[in-house]
């Protein structure tokens, strides 16, 4: 471990960490430019670098972009990457209340803590965790997807979970469009090649969050993003606030690590599950989605802790834990590192080096993030009428940049309209996006699960993880049903009194 540190500590390393992390923050903060796209691009640009430095650049870029996404989520209510959708729920209301500086700072210290805990987990228990992840079969994946939708629907629309679930299952329905992978049958495509390819996640997300946000805010004239006077918050108080919520931090880190290590399920799902758990445990659940410290910390700690954890299966099983980790895996092969079950025996130094890379990147990310907070806050002071064209331009170019398809630009517009209608009728946007993310996973694993049950019916009762997931799912649904009528009644009453 120490050898690996000495090996890595050099001026070149410092320089690469600095620029790569900064580039990551910028890419993450721009709506539509995601960690996956940034990594795929940077892989092309780092062919010529020495292997270890190239991997370092990519890991720092990955860390920077997942963190950078929280900047636009807090300031603009447009999550920069899918992993930051839960961050926007509490971060943006905080910024609107004039506490933008505090929200940015709190998200930064939460990401720092989550990233470091995740990095340590990577160092200590990587191979063990990867083995445990093998226990996740088709049944568990299917249930995890359903739990994700139910929890997100419940948490984003607490006073009316029915609307959250409608949004979530609408997302799953949208994910059915296009060619399914088992028989290559094009569902709901009507011979159209673009539909056969399905609705891509990123343009849908940018449209639903970004374009609909722009449309809702039009006509507010000179209004700024935030009218309340802005308060500066010293860094120390951020740390104090976080330590006061240490239980949330620890819980979220563990959830982040646990979800991140599951192959194919990444930072986005981790943030949601952690957000749901924090709300369930909170003494003041009503503060959530209105600017809760716990909510913001839960989301940002979990997505940062999930990141190193998503690298674990990539390193030890050669199976990526998330979409960006898939690109990272490809880059490792290109630079002659051979991840897989043999890596701990053949190349333990590399695993140690990766841990240091994660730790370097996380620290530099926090330092840069804090330094950038004040300049970024200026965005909130720009009148909307000037900000709108800029964001619109980014919303068009970002999703296009990913695949360079014109069809994706139409998807942005269509989801902007859908998002506007849903917002007007008080539907949360995030479960819709989560539904699109999880659709493929739920679909395939549902059908595989049926096949496996058909082959061996007893396995329904012999899978402990599956039974826990079923219990969580039922709890989330029925806790909601009991509470709903009263809340609705109160809301109607208020509506009538207005």
């Amino acid at each position: 471990m120490i050898d690996a540190f000495l090996d890595l500590a050099s001026a070149t390393t410092l320089f690469n960490v600095l620029w790569a992390t900064l580039a990551g923050i910028v890419i993450g903060a721009l709506p539509g430019l995601t960690a996956t796209m940034g990594l795929a691009l940077m892989t092309s640009l780092t062919y010529a670098m020495a292997g270890q430095q190239a991997i370092l650049v990519l890991i720092c870029l990955y860390i920077g972009s997942i963190y950078g996404g929280s900047r636009s989520a807090i300031l603009l209510n447009i999550p920069g990457t899918p992993a930051n959708a839960a961050t926007a729920l509490d971060g943006h209301p905080m910024a609107q209340a004039g506490m933008g500086h505090r929200a940015l700072g709190l998200a930064t210290v939460a990401s720092l803590t989550g990233g470091l805990i995740g990095g340590v987990a990577l160092a200590l228990i990587a191979p063990l965790l990867a083995e445990l992840a093998l226990g996740f079969g088709s049944t568990e994946y299917f249930l995890l997807g359903i739990v994700g939708i139910v929890v997100a629907g419940r948490m984003t629309a607490a006073d009316d979970p029915l609307k959250g679930w409608i949004a979530g299952f609408l997302g799953l329905a949208i994910a059915t469009v296009g060619q399914e992978t088992m028989h290559a049958y094009p569902r709901f495509s009507y011979g159209n090649l673009d539909l056969t390819a399905g609705i891509a996640l990123i343009p849908a997300m940018v449209g639903a969050f970004g374009i609909s946000e722009l449309l809702m805010s039009l006509g507010s004239g000179k209004a700024r993003m935030v009218d309340a006077p802005m308060q500066a918050t010293p860094l120390l108080s951020n740390f104090r606030d976080m330590i006061r919520r240490k239980v949330t931090v620890i819980r979220s880190s563990f959830i982040g690590i646990a979800i991140g290590v599951i192959p194919g399920v990444g930072e986005d799902v981790a943030a949601w599950i952690s957000y749901g758990a924090a709300r369930r445990a909170s003494k003041t659940p009503d503060e959530f989605t209105k600017g809760s410290d716990d909510g913001l910390i839960a989301a940002e700690t979990a997505n940062s802790a999930a990141l190193p954890s998503a690298i674990i299966p990539a390193l030890t099983l050669a199976v990526p834990g998330s979409a960006p980790a898939a690109v990272l895996l490809a880059a490792m092969f290109i630079h002659n590192v051979r991840p897989g079950p043999m890596i701990m025996i053949e190349n333990p130094d590399f695993v140690a080096a990766v841990c240091w890379m994660v730790i370097f990147g996380t620290i530099v990310m926090a330092v840069m993030g804090l330094a950038l907070s004040r300049p970024l806050l200026l965005v909130l002071k720009v009148p909307r009428e000037f900000l709108t064209p800029v964001i619109f331009c980014l919303c068009l170019l970002g999703p296009y940049a990913l695949t360079q398809r014109i069809f994706d630009i139409y998807v942005v517009l269509a989801f902007g309209l859908l998002g506007l209608a849903m917002r007007l009728m008080r539907y949360p946007m995030a479960p819709l996006i989560l539904g699109i993310i999880l659709g493929g996973m739920v679909d395939q694993n549902l059908r595989r699960m049926l096949q496996l049950i058909d082959r061996d019916p007893t396995q329904v009762f012999t899978r402990p993880i599956a039974l826990v997931l079923v219990a969580v799912c039922l709890a989330a649904i029925f806790a909601g049903v009991r509470r709903r009528p009263r809340n609705v009644q109160v809301k109607r009453q208020q509506a009538r009194n207005q």
Binding site: S44, A197, F333, R455
Partner: protein
């Protein structure tokens, strides 16, 4: 077709004497990988792109444009300006069968292939099954039926086609279980959810080396070397196996300037043969470096395409007969 072959032959003779590249790209070249990042095509293309950059004197940017089994990215290259700056990548079997699958209207004759490597599948089992030979495997498929699940990434993936080839040659009806990619299929075999897999050697390499999968045979006519380990070909047991290998390559659409094709053909074999990244990828993970362009590439690709096309047709997945496209039954 014949005129194209003559043209290609002419191009070869003309360009043979030219050592340096004539075509000097003025802006970055884009290679479209019509699959998600991290897959076989992505790996091979990125390794080659790194070595083409110094030769062409420009960046070679790899863009992943996944969707509909690669047909979206393929259509995008067909729609792009034919100026030589947009290249396609992928497997020859896939490009050769889009039309008979009713996906997009293109045949392999519409492309100028530049082949990078040959990819073969391996029949492997979970060590817990205690299957040790191909004969054991065939016997177990016959006796166990539904209890023996074989994980692949879909009927049209390399794994699915490899399994279909075994099924035809051994006259068995193996039970396939489909995963959303090569890696998840292999992981399911390692964890015991499925009992065997027929995915690419490249995807299985690390699990085989770690002893988490037991390789029974290479699905093809030649042995596969994974470092020190050599996996014998399945044709020892099943001599009448239809061709099952696939080739990964880069393809330029008809209509690009001749000088682009000439330049690439002139530098292709030499650049790729000297590519350390590709060499490393193939020796450690069981693919064969096969840097061929033009006519020779066509000659390698055609039997693979014919086998794939007729396989699809015989299983009832094709929308038209390969005969209508001029592909004779092998």
């Amino acid at each position: 077709m014949i005129s194209r072959m003559i043209m290609a032959a002419l191009a070869l003779t003309v360009s043979a004497g030219v050592a340096m590249a004539d075509w000097k790209p003025e802006k970055p070249v884009t290679v479209i990988v019509p699959y998600p990042p991290g897959g076989v095509t992505d790996l091979a293309v990125r390794a080659v792109a790194a070595d083409l950059e110094p030769v062409l004197g420009q960046k070679v940017v790899v863009v992943n444009q996944p969707g509909a089994n690669g047909s979206v990215g393929t259509q995008a290259v067909l729609d792009a300006p034919k100026d030589g700056y947009t290249w396609l990548s992928g497997g020859v079997r896939d490009i050769g069968t889009y039309k008979i699958m009713g996906m997009i209207d293109t045949t392999f004759d519409d492309w100028h292939p530049f082949i990078i490597a040959s990819m073969s599948s391996v029949l492997s089992v979970n060590p817990g099954t205690e299957i040790a030979t191909v004969e054991d495997f065939i016997a177990r498929v016959k006796s166990d039926g539904d209890k023996l699940l074989i994980a692949t990434a879909g009927p049209n993936s390399s794994g699915g086609q490899g399994l279909a080839a075994i099924a035809t040659a051994a006259d068995i009806d193996p039970k396939q279980i489909v995963y959303d990619g090569g890696n998840p299929a292999i992981l399911a075999t390692v964890s015991g959810e499925a009992q065997a897999t027929t995915q690419l050697a490249l995807e299985q390499a690390e699990m085989i080396r770690a002893g988490r999968l037991t390789p029974l045979a290479a699905i093809g006519t030649t042995e596969i070397k994974l470092g020190d380990l050599s996996i014998p070909p399945i044709t020892a047991q099943l001599p009448n196996l239809p061709p099952a290998e696939n080739f990964v390559g880069i393809y330029l659409p008809d209509g690009v300037p001749q000088e682009v094709l000439d330049t690439l053909e002139a530098v292709w074999t030499e650049t790729l043969s000297g590519s350390k990244g590709l060499q490393q990828l193939c020796t450690s993970r069981g693919c064969g470096v096969k840097p061929v362009a033009g006519d020779e590439a066509m000659k390698s690709a055609n039997p693979a395409i014919a086998a794939a096309a007729w396989g699809l047709y015989d299983r009832g997945d094709a929308k038209m007969s390969p005969e209508e496209m001029g592909i004779a039954r092998p």
